[in-house]
Symmetry: C2
Subunit: 454 residues, 2 copies
């Protein structure tokens, strides 16, 4: 509440008359909360605000603004102002912020940053080389790295010095680097505090360091960090040189983003970047139209199947009565299997090579589930029929057992196959599997019907 009051009707007056008081009042709050209010303000007010905030605090707020808003601010500020804000940002956020800008402005800002803090400018250029979604693109390049013969007291001093300078995101570890910055060991802060200060790092470090390649997918990094409960993990390049650190707070964001992306893909929606209301209408529309049309064209097959059996339907119209029920049941069984398998694939509990075990389990599950549902279907059809009640009920129930089994098999094996050929099994899988089992379900049902009732 109090924070919102600061940005009330007196906002302009206070900011103009007593910027010092305004700044001090603001500093009582978390940068995230300030960013949330600031992003709604007109751009002129935001720029005025950043001119008043101390650079370090302003950098924290800027890091937390949405990408577009952040770019606007950097564009409106003078190049010198923008560069000194950038200089105070975390290396990974700084690189992101610069990459979002027009190339012309990028060059100007980097040239200015070269004056203020040449190392930071260099880092931005290095981080810019990494592909989006790679470990390199979300790592930070600031960490404590020491030679193996560094004394423990000296390493602790270095941690203190860098912490004071505000350069460290993670202070848990000291990384030990040999010739060519090769990563050869790690020592936790705790181990260093416990060790004899006059020992060398080489004597106290752990040599067996879990590390990750800078070009690896950030999802892989998230998985490794979550598995080991690490707070930070070293990132190396192809030559084994340590180039950065990936920290657990980045991983939380990755995990949330990926879960959202997977959910959207499974629901036949192309992933959208922003939130539901943040996404512009046309982008939202585009994320849906492609899959809807693809699935619709695929659905033409059901019409073909129906046409080829239209003689049978004309003769026994009660057959048509159960078509929606039967195909949706097959689709539901398929969705269930697909959901379970796709999530298991993304958590690496199941791999494509396990297909035979999966097949066995799904066959048994499908048959037994089908028997339960098929028995209910028998009763429903028996009491619905005008004539030929028992043959019709037989056809319906046998078809249900078949579609539930086929749905389970398709729903589980298709994602394995898709992953095997190198594609993403989450893409549109549930509706796709539902459509496929619609066609298979119709073929099974009408095929059985024309044989048994024929």
């Amino acid at each position: 509440m109090r924070l919102a009051m600061l940005f009330g009707p007196d906002f302009h007056a206070t900011l103009a008359e007593d910027p010092q008081a305004f700044r001090e009042a603001l500093e009582e709050f978390h940068e995230e909360d300030i960013a949330e209010i600031v992003e709604e303000l007109p751009i002129e007010d935001i720029v005025a605000l950043f001119r008043v905030l101390p650079d370090e605090f302003g950098a924290g707020v800027l890091e937390r603004l949405p990408d577009e808003r952040r770019s606007e601010v950097l564009e409106k500020l003078k190049v010198e102002e923008a560069a000194s804000l950038l200089a105070e940002m975390e290396p990974d956020d700084r690189a992101d912020a610069v990459q979002e800008l027009d190339e012309g402005l990028q060059d100007k800002l980097l040239a200015q940053l070269d004056q203020v803090e040449p190392e930071a400018a260099q880092e931005v250029r290095e981080l810019a080389r990494y592909a989006e979604g790679s470990v390199g693109s979300i790592m930070t390049t600031s960490f404590v790295g020491c030679a193996p013969d560094t004394k423990v007291w000296k390493a602790l001093d270095e941690v203190r010095r860098m912490t004071r300078a505000g350069e460290l995101e993670s202070i848990y570890y000291v990384f030990v680097q040999a010739f060519g910055d090769k990563l050869v060991g790690v020592a936790s802060l705790r181990e260093l505090i416990l060790a004899d200060p006059s020992q060398e790092l080489a004597d106290v470090m752990t040599e067996n360091v879990v590390r990750i390649l800078d070009t690896e997918d950030r999802e892989v990094a998230a998985r490794v960090i979550a598995k080991y409960d690490f707070h930070a993990m070293p990132v190396v390049d192809a030559q084994g040189k340590m180039v950065g650190v990936i920290t657990i707070d980045d991983v939380v964001d990755v995990v949330i983003d990926e879960a959202t992306e997977d959910a959207q893909k499974m629901g036949a929606v192309s992933p959208i970047e922003g939130g539901y209301f943040q996404t512009a209408f046309f982008d939202y529309w585009k994320s849906r139209v492609t899959w809807l049309v693809v699935l619709f064209l695929g659905g033409f097959l059901t019409a073909n199947v129906m046409q080829s059996f239209s003689g049978e339907i004309q003769r026994v119209v009660t057959l048509a009565v159960f078509i929606p029920l039967i195909i949706s049941t097959g689709g539901n069984a398929g969705s269930q299997s697909a959901t379970l398998i796709i999530r298991a694939l993304s958590l690496h509990e199941v791999e494509p090579r396990d297909w035979l075990r999966v097949l066995g389990r799904e066959l048994l599950t499908g048959l037994t589930l089908g028997l339960v549902v098929g028995a209910l279907g028998f009763l429903r059809a028996y009491f619905a029929a005008d004539a030929q009640a028992i043959p019709l009920a037989m056809v319906v129930s046998v078809s249900i057992v078949a579609v539930v089994t086929v749905g389970s098999l398709v729903g589980s094996l298709l994602p394995l196959l898709i992953q095997r050929v190198g594609l993403d099994p989450a893409v549109s899988s549930t509706p796709f599997i539902a459509s496929l089992s619609d066609v298979v379900g119709l073929l099974v049902y009408l095929g059985i019907a024309s044989t048994l009732l024929g």
Copy 2:
């Protein structure tokens, strides 16, 4: 590879002949990797192994074993052995481990732990009071808490002492507690290092501390920590007393678990606890049968609708040909909307009170998507018809526009309604919405057909 070799054919001989060497070899590896190999061994071997490992290291491995395996180990060890392993575990893991055991063994172990480390036993009893899924159930009770008049140097000393004792999971913050252990402030390690050592905590601390209630849902804690990029957050009880800390590594697990649970619920599967292959066949079967039957019984409605229109179908059998296509298109549009809205709800981008905005957006989306797909449907029906080509194509395309619109509206508004009445919108939503739009789709299509072709 080398770790696997340690557990090769010579495993028993080495362990029996030279336990010291075996232990030293093991200590080179991460506890997580050891736990992964150990969990596959026969229980006798695991117990023999824990007898050889130093308690602190053993506790780390034990924490990482699956729940059932961990319980077995604690059951087979002597009470004294089990208690000294427990004494070395993290408080939250220790409480979990004890709670998984039979009540008789729980009492025995706690009685023994009362002897070894009474504080730990007390903590287990306190943590056991929290409901599963609450913040209290995943917090740790070990943190540095100091009075407001503590000098900075004294607080830093306390951090050092507790770090040495191995009691701290998170060393980033010192929490400032007033009378009655009320949380009044926080100081980060960095702030303390930068401050004058002779200052009092009250002078350097931040008073505006983001905190969370111990009875709150752990998902809420995960959201707050992810939002602010915290490494740890203080947990307070209803009286404002600080009772623990929740750390970011716990949050990663929460986020992964919740995403899995949501995905399973959306796929009409009751959440399963273990992995795909770890879950016993019957549990796996149970997770699916309820929803499959519920959806099947709901699908009876489609049969009712079909029956009441069977006269029309008999007369124009081509009508039946497009039934599967039309209802599945409505279902797909519904799945898309439901996926987007449910994820937005769980990330709190959208709230039930936004229903009017959602309705507006989905109405527009549904109509425009419907026009695209409906145009394709017109062509397909026109070329499929034997007679009355244009009226039939009209009926099909108008119906498609209607089902896509209705599907989008139902798919988006139903989850909002479900959340509004206090239920979980993820539960079985996609298939449920598909089933609902099957019924609505049939009513629309056959209703329009009987009016226009009638």
